[in-house]
C-alpha cells in the first residue's frame, strides 16, 4: 500500500511539470536565470546521490564499493556506455567480494 501511494504521488508530481506547459503555455517566457538554475538540477542531484552514499552501496565491503566505483568511472569515460559501465562496475565489485 505504501509503495502504491509512492507510485501515485510520484506519477502526479512527474506529470504536472510535463503537462502544465502543454495546457497553460503558448510561448516560452521562463526567465533565463531560472532556466540556467534548472539546467543544473540533474547534475546536482546525481552529485548529491553519489556522495556520500556510494561508500555504503555494498554494506558487506566498502573496498568492493570503492573498487567498483573506480572501474565504473574509467569505463564511463572510456565507453560512454550505460550498460557497460553498470556491468563493469558491478563485475569489479563482485571480484572484490570473491577474493
Amino acid at each position: 500500500m505504501r509503495i502504491y501511494l509512492l507510485i501515485l504521488g510520484m506519477a502526479l508530481v512527474t506529470v504536472i511539470p510535463r503537462l502544465l506547459p502543454f495546457i497553460a503555455l503558448k510561448i516560452d517566457k521562463i526567465p533565463s536565470l531560472l532556466r540556467v538554475f534548472l539546467s543544473y538540477i540533474p547534475f546536482a542531484a546525481m552529485g548529491a546521490l553519489i556522495i556520500p552514499g556510494i561508500g555504503d552501496s555494498i554494506p558487506e565491503s566498502t573496498t568492493a564499493a570503492l573498487g567498483g566505483t573506480i572501474a565504473a568511472t574509467l569505463i564511463a569515460l572510456g565507453t560512454r556506455n550505460l550498460l557497460l559501465t553498470i556491468g563493469g562496475g558491478v563485475f569489479t565489485s563482485a571480484l572484490f567480494l570473491l577474493f
Partner: protein, 230 residues
C-alpha cells in the same frame, strides 16, 4: 492528416535508439526493485505510471535509506521540474492538434532532445511514435530486469548494490569531464549532502534536496559570472 500514420511510424523508427538506451537502465531498475522490497506488480506499475528513469532509481535508493514517502515525492518533483522547461520549449515547435496535451505525458530528456533536433514544426504523430517507443523500452525492460533478478547468485546481488551508483556515474562522469561547471555543481551538491550528514542532519531526503539546491545555485552563479558554457 493523410500522412499522420507515416509520421507516427517515422517517430517509432527514430525512437529505436531511445528504446535501446532505456533497456539497460530499465533492467537495472527491475533488478534493483527486485533486490529491494518491491513485487512484480509494484515494479511494473512504477515504470508504467511514473516513466521517469532517474527519479525511479532515486526513489529506490531513498527507500533503501528509509526516507519518508512525502520526502521522496518532494525529491522527485525537484528532480523532474526540468521537464517543465522542456515541455515549454517543445510546445512552441509542435503542430497544434486537439490531442496535444496527451503528448506532455511522454516528455523525457531523450525524446525531448531528439524532437528538438528535428526541424520545426514537429508533428504530433511523430512525437507520439517517438515517445511510445521509449515508453515500451522502459516498461518491457523493467519486467525483464525483475525476471532476471530472481536467478542472480548471492555475490552478484551484493555487488548489484553498486549498479544504481554506476548508472549515475555513467550519466554524470562524461558531462563532468566536458564542463568544469557541471563537475563543481556535482561536487558541491555531494559535499553539502555529506557535510550535513556529518553534522547530524539525519533525513537524507532533506539533505539531498538542500544539496541539489546548493549545487544548482553554484552552477547558476558560475555560469552567470564567468560566462561558462557547457
Amino acid at each position: 492528416m493523410t500522412s499522420s500514420r507515416e509520421e507516427f511510424f517515422q517517430g517509432i523508427t527514430t525512437g529505436l535508439p531511445v528504446f535501446f538506451s532505456y533497456l539497460p537502465v530499465a533492467i537495472t531498475f527491475g533488478l534493483l526493485a527486485r533486490t529491494g522490497e518491491l513485487d512484480i506488480f509494484q515494479t511494473v506499475s512504477f515504470s508504467a505510471l511514473v516513466f521517469a528513469g532517474a527519479s525511479q532509481l532515486i526513489a529506490l535508493n531513498l527507500l533503501s535509506l528509509g526516507v519518508s514517502i512525502p520526502e521522496i515525492i518532494a525529491t522527485t518533483f525537484l528532480v523532474n521540474l526540468r521537464h517543465l522547461l522542456m515541455s515549454a520549449s517543445l510546445i512552441t515547435r509542435i503542430k497544434e492538434t486537439p490531442l496535444l496535451p496527451i503528448l506532455g505525458l511522454g516528455v523525457t530528456d531523450e525524446s525531448f532532445a531528439i524532437a528538438s533536433l528535428k526541424p520545426a514544426p514537429v508533428s504530433a504523430g511523430f512525437l507520439g511514435g517517438l515517445q511510445i517507443t521509449g515508453y515500451l523500452g522502459w516498461v518491457v525492460g523493467t519486467a525483464i530486469g525483475f525476471g532476471a533478478g530472481q536467478i542472480l547468485p548471492e555475490i552478484l546481488r551484493q555487488a548489484m548494490g553498486l549498479a544504481i551508483y554506476a548508472l549515475f556515474i555513467a550519466l554524470l562522469a562524461p558531462a563532468a569531464i566536458r564542463s568544469r561547471t557541471v563537475f563543481v555543481v556535482a561536487i558541491i551538491a555531494g559535499g553539502i549532502n555529506w557535510g550535513l550528514a556529518l553534522i547530524g542532519l539525519e533525513q537524507a531526503g532533506i539533505r539531498i534536496v538542500l544539496g541539489i539546491l546548493g549545487g544548482a545555485a553554484i552552477g547558476t552563479i558560475m555560469e552567470h559570472k564567468g560566462g561558462i558554457k557547457n
